[in-house]
Structure formats: structure tokens, C-alpha cells
């Protein structure tokens, strides 16, 4: 190993690792770790990630981004002009947020048990649809119902306060 005067070895390694993500289609050195994205991604699956423009990322896409020294890879489920809300299908009650500038790329292929599938294959698309449906069922609908209940409760409290006083109370004076 050698070093240059202006370069910090740790910083160089971090940059090189990010470049490694961009080169994954040629290097084939990216592997998934953990259970959070099962069944779509599991421990030891090989993954290919390609650089992507922020505007081209669609709901349900599997996105790799920078988070400190780690490279989380999760599904996009909600977005704002400069932020993405990420979700893992096997951890439905947790959310993760990332910013536009942290995005490194889009997962486009996976190898498991010697077999590759890509984002163009039916299996990949079916997993994307299933994840979106699960998110809608487990997260979106309950969240919307909760918001409606909260609004309804506020309305009822407001309506009760607006009720005129009962006649017998009025007669006390």
C-alpha cells in the first residue's frame, strides 16, 4: 500500500468502494447480506447495480444508497422531489429515508443458486408487484384509515363543542 500527500487512505477506500458499486456489472463483486429483503433478496445473493438518474427511479425499484460506511439496498416506496422513502418487504413496519445525493444505483440483476434473473424477467417484475401490493395492504391502507379516524375524531370533538346547552341547564339561572 502507498499513500499520497493529499489523500486519506480511508476516504480513498470509501470512494473506491462506491466506484465498485458502479462497476458491478463487470466486476461481479456485490453480495447481499441479511434477511430484510426476503424473499426477493437473501443472504449471499449476488447483485448487479447500475448507476441511475434520480428522476428515473420508479416506485418498487430496488435501490442501493450510501449510509455511512454501509450500502443499504431497499425498495423505493414513496418519494419527494429530493428524498426517497425506502422499505424492506420482510420488515414491513420499518422505514428508511435517504436523499438524492446518496443514491448509488439501481439493482438490475440477481444471482441465486447459479441462476441469474434481471429486471426484465417476469420473476423480477412479479416480486416488484408483490412488494408494492404488500406495502399498500400493510402500510398505505392502515395509514390512510388512521388519518381518517384522526380527522373524524377531531370533527366529532368540534361538533360536540358546538352543541347548544340543554334547556334544563338554561333554566337554572
Amino acid at each position: 500500500m502507498s499513500s499520497l500527500p493529499g489523500q486519506n487512505a480511508e476516504e480513498m477506500r470509501r470512494i473506491a468502494r462506491e466506484l465498485q458499486v458502479e462497476l458491478s456489472s463487470e466486476q461481479r463483486t456485490l453480495y447481499f447480506h441479511g434477511e430484510s429483503m426476503r424473499p426477493f433478496l437473501g443472504e449471499g445473493d449476488e447483485v448487479v447495480v447500475t448507476p441511475v438518474a434520480f428522476e428515473d427511479i420508479r416506485l418498487g425499484d430496488v435501490v442501493t444508497y450510501r449510509f455511512g460506511e454501509k450500502f443499504p439496498t431497499r425498495r423505493l416506496m414513496r418519494r419527494t422531489p429530493d428524498r426517497l422513502q425506502m422499505w424492506c418487504e420482510n420488515w414491513p413496519n420499518r422505514y428508511f429515508e435517504t436523499r438524492r445525493e446518496e443514491i448509488l444505483g439501481l439493482a438490475i440483476a440477481r444471482k441465486r443458486d447459479g441462476k441469474w434473473i434481471t429486471h426484465r424477467d417476469a420473476e423480477w417484475k412479479a416480486a416488484r408487484r408483490a412488494a408494492l401490493l404488500k406495502y399498500w395492504r400493510v402500510v398505505s391502507v392502515p395509514r390512510t384509515l388512521g388519518q381518517l379516524r384522526a380527522v373524524g375524531g377531531r370533527f366529532l370533538r368540534w361538533a360536540r363543542l358546538r352543541k347548544p346547552l340543554p334547556a334544563r341547564d338554561a333554566g337554572l339561572s
Binding site: M1, S2, S3, L4, P5, G6, Q7, A9, E11, M12, R13, I15, A16, R17, E18, L19, Q20, V21, E22, L23, E26, Q27, T29, L30, Y31, F32, H33, G34, E35, S36, M37, L41, V47, V49, T64, K70, F71, P72, T73, R74, C88, N90, W91
Partner: protein, 130 residues
């Protein structure tokens, strides 16, 4: 005239604070360039160049004489070639960019010999959902 170009098919790079970090796609080796090396790297990424064209650019950029830097530049180019990061260009030569180079301002200060440093090889990278 032998001209060299950056082997962009097998290299990915990023420039941070004027210094490039390069990753070799097939060997997974990664490298650092100092500011002068990065200046030369950017030149041969843009177009194939002969050694004397690169020397002209460097002299115009850093305000040094060609004789003083020629050996350093040739050594640097040889190291890029040896690591597979640069290769000989095929096809016809284009006009030497000496005039354009001379017009560029000298914003990076003193000349230091260009240097390529190999930092090792990247191992498997773990993507995590956790």
C-alpha cells in the same frame, strides 16, 4: 506518433479535491493520482494524446519547461500503461491541443511529478438491507 488514451472501458474514476481515485474493473485494484497525475489523466480521458502533447499541456498549465518534466511524464504514462489504465490509441491523430492548453489558467500551483499509487484490491462488497 504513438498516442495514449485512458482505458475507460475498464476503469471507473472519481476526482475529489483535485485528486483522482481509479478502480480497475477486471482486477479490482484501486489507485490514487496526485494533482498533476489527475491533470494528465483528464487530458487522456478527453482524447488520445502523444507524450509531447501532454508535456505541452503540463508546461502550459504549471509554468515549467518541457525538459524538466518530460522524464516524469514518460514514467507516469508508462506506469498507467503497465497497470492497464491507459493504452495505445488506434486511428488517425488529431491536432495537438497546445494552443488550447496554453490558454488555460495556472490554478493548481507548483508542479509536482505526476504519480500513480496502487492502494490494493477491493474484496467483495456487501450490500445490506439492515
Amino acid at each position: 506518433m504513438r498516442r495514449l488514451q485512458a482505458n475507460t472501458d475498464i476503469a471507473a474514476w472519481r476526482i475529489v479535491d483535485g485528486e483522482a481515485v481509479i478502480v480497475h474493473a477486471t482486477s479490482s485494484a484501486y489507485y490514487g493520482l496526485n494533482t498533476t497525475g489527475t491533470f494528465i489523466w483528464e487530458a487522456i480521458v478527453g482524447e488520445p494524446m502523444a507524450s509531447h502533447d501532454i508535456t505541452s499541456r503540463v508546461t502550459a498549465r504549471f509554468g515549467v519547461t518541457g525538459d524538466a518534466v518530460r522524464n516524469d511524464i514518460d514514467t507516469f504514462l508508462a506506469s498507467l500503461e503497465a497497470e492497464g489504465l491507459a493504452c495505445e490509441a488506434t486511428g488517425s491523430a488529431t491536432a495537438a491541443p497546445a494552443v488550447a492548453a496554453a490558454a488555460q489558467p495556472n490554478g493548481h500551483g507548483e508542479f509536482v511529478p505526476p504519480r500513480l499509487s496502487r492502494f490494493g484490491e477491493l474484496e467483495q462488497l456487501v450490500l445490506s438491507g439492515e
